[in-house]
């Protein structure tokens, strides 16, 4: 713990990192699947799925949080089942904060993966087919490695954005110190507290630094992977 942060502030930073990391770990696999379906699939309702995935980008985050509350709340259709079967409660928990963050950053990952999927020459997959590779084999050995820069940069961008998710988290998971009070929520609380300006400023500076570092890391990682893939070798 750095000496210039109080235990509560450090707790908020730690929680933010944990929530953002979890949201990315659980968000990436379904995002890759959805991106693949949108890029390669031909099925009815594809346009609808596309719109649905991108909804969190354009809807007020508070509305997303409210929809999650209605669905995953203790009395919600999914929430009540989770509670009954697994004893799992999402509302007002760190897991809930991670879920809200994952939903908000989902379109960011899908977009990045889809862009790199569109850049994969379909002829390469046809070549793999003619060499005897079945669909899963093809995806794992050709498509996945070729879109890995997109997955990585999408994941890092989503992580950086996830550190700062506010509206959906506070609506769905509330603002409980040590449980769901992430960086932006702690900043908000600090601004509401008399004499909290210094704390708010420190935390704001910290989120700024984290965001910039995240974006730089995403670009660096994408370039390294791209070079490893041999695309920019010449």
């Amino acid at each position: 713990m750095p000496p210039w942060l109080s235990p509560e502030e450090w707790e908020a930073v730690r929680l933010s990192l944990s929530v953002a990391l979890r949201s990315v770990v659980f968000g990436v696999p379904p995002a890759v699947l959805v991106a693949w379906l949108l890029a390669r699939g031909r099925f009815p309702g594809r346009g609808l799925l596309d719109a649905l995935v991108h909804l969190p980008l354009v809807m007020p985050p508070v509305v997303v949080g409210w929809l999650l509350l209605v669905t995953f709340g203790v009395r919600g259709p999914v929430g009540s089942l989770l509670q009954e079967w697994f004893g799992l409660r999402l509302v007002f928990t760190t897991g809930g904060a991670a879920l809200a963050t994952a939903v908000m950053s989902f379109p960011l990952i899908v977009r990045a993966v889809r862009l790199s999927l569109d850049a994969v020459e379909p002829g390469l997959e046809a070549a793999a087919r003619s060499l005897g590779a079945g669909p899963v084999d093809r995806f794992l050995t050709i498509t996945l490695p070729l879109i890995s820069p997109g997955i990585l940069s999408g994941a890092i961008t989503a992580f950086a954005a996830g550190l700062g998710e506010f509206g959906a988290v506070i609506t769905f998971a509330s603002n409980i110190p040590g449980q769901t009070q992430t960086l932006p929520l702690a900043i908000y609380s600090a601004t509401q507290t008399p004499g909290g300006e210094a704390m708010a400023a420190r935390l704001a500076l910290l989120s700024f630094a984290l965001a910039v570092a995240g974006l730089l890391a995403a670009e660096f990682a994408r370039r390294r992977l791209q070079a490893w893939l041999g695309r920019e070798a010449r």
Partner: protein
């Protein structure tokens, strides 16, 4: 034996083609761009599903629209070499080569890794990434990758079309070598006549979605009634020859073909080996009396079988030398002056220097 019959509609034209390729040798699908030959190849590979038809390879049915059979490409065991090599950019040359090998069925026969690397001369490239290869090198690696998947049939879709003249000359000898060394049937799509001359055993001539003619290349190439061949500036026949002996002192190689003997500039094929010779109609001169005192080395007794009008003031003569057919282009004036008619005995004169074997430099066709 590959048997293909299919119909497939495109906006503006319909492909309706049927042909058979023998179990050995190179079958070339030849025709102008957009005649449907690449579509035929894609259908055989399974990368395109035709509207109707049947494709069978050996005893196995790959596609049959009436029986509802459509074997996916990964189970057809047809190796494909595409015009744009399509090497996997994230894998080294060696990993690219082994990609098909690892997925080949157990017990499938075919050349092994070191044999293919040696055959294609790609030993020094194994550790490189495809992005660092030249066009010709890429195409050789793609060829090796397809071979190592142990296919029952090798499909090549204009493998040289994207290469410049120099790179073409670099890859072509490897294809010729491959054809001699491996007993693998090859279906080869091209619109370049030089590749037909060099590689084809069987020729399938296509135009506007239809098969105009198909059969052994010596027969099809000699047909003057076919628009694609008759109008060629360098129309001619291909003779399957055998090397009799090399005369290094005179710089000549003596060849035998069914119907006579020919002397050509020194060739690299060993004595007794096969050599395919392209005899262009414009390089053949006709005499109605036994010629004497000429510098011309090759004088073949022939019988005039028929004559057809060629473009301009020329005529195309079909000459029979034993079982072989030779074409000669002469002026119509000469036909009238010599009173040439079918059944007439004559002598065909060919300058030795006009001939070049498949290993010699070939004039670019297009």
């Amino acid at each position: 034996m590959l048997e293909v019959t299919l119909r497939h509609g495109f906006p503006g034209f319909t492909l309706e083609a049927s042909f058979a390729a023998p179990a050995e040798g190179v079958t070339v699908l030849f025709g102008p761009s957009g005649c449907g030959k690449s579509t035929l190849l894609a259908a055989v590979a399974g990368l395109l599903r035709p509207e109707a038809g049947r494709i069978a390879l050996g005893g196995a049915v790959l596609f049959d629209s009436r029986a509802g059979v459509m074997l996916p490409p990964e189970r057809r065991r047809c190796g494909v070499v595409f015009q744009d090599a399509r090497l996997f950019p994230h894998l080294s040359v060696e990993a690219n080569l082994r990609y098909g090998l690892r997925r080949a069925p157990r017990g499938a026969e075919g050349p092994d890794f070191s044999e293919v690397v040696e055959l294609l001369g790609i030993g020094t490239l194994l550790g490189r990434r495809p992005a660092l290869l030249s066009g010709g090198e890429k195409q050789r690696v793609a060829l090796g990758r397809a071979l190592l998947s142990r296919p029952r049939l090798l499909l090549m879709d204009e493998p040289l079309a994207a290469l410049d003249q120099g790179r073409k000359a670099e890859v072509l000898p490897f294809l010729a070598r491959l054809k001699q060394r491996l007993r693998l049937p090859i279906l080869y799509v091209t619109h370049a006549m030089a590749e037909v001359d060099r590689l084809a055993d069987t020729l399938v001539l296509m135009q506007a979605g239809r098969v105009l003619a198909s059969g052994p290349v010596e027969e099809v190439a000699a047909r003057t009634d076919l628009p694609l061949l008759g109008a060629r500036r360098d129309a001619g026949v291909v003779l399957a020859c055998r090397v009799l002996r090399h005369d290094t002192a005179q710089g000549l190689t003596h060849l035998a073909f069914p119907g006579g003997e020919l002397a050509v500039p020194l060739a690299t094929v060993p004595e007794g080996g096969p050599l395919r010779l392209r005899l262009r109609a414009r390089d053949v001169v006709l005499a109605t009396e036994a010629p004497r005192g000429l510098s011309v080395r090759n004088i073949l007794p022939v019988v005039v079988e028929g004559l057809a009008a060629a473009e301009g003031h020329a005529a195309m003569l079909r000459l029979r030398a034993g079982p072989s057919l030779i074409l000669a282009r002469v002026t119509r004036e000469a036909v009238a002056r010599l009173a040439l008619a079918p059944g007439q005995a004559a002598w065909a004169l060919v300058k030795a220097v006009a001939l070049s074997g498949p290993d010699g430099e070939e004039a670019p066709d297009d």
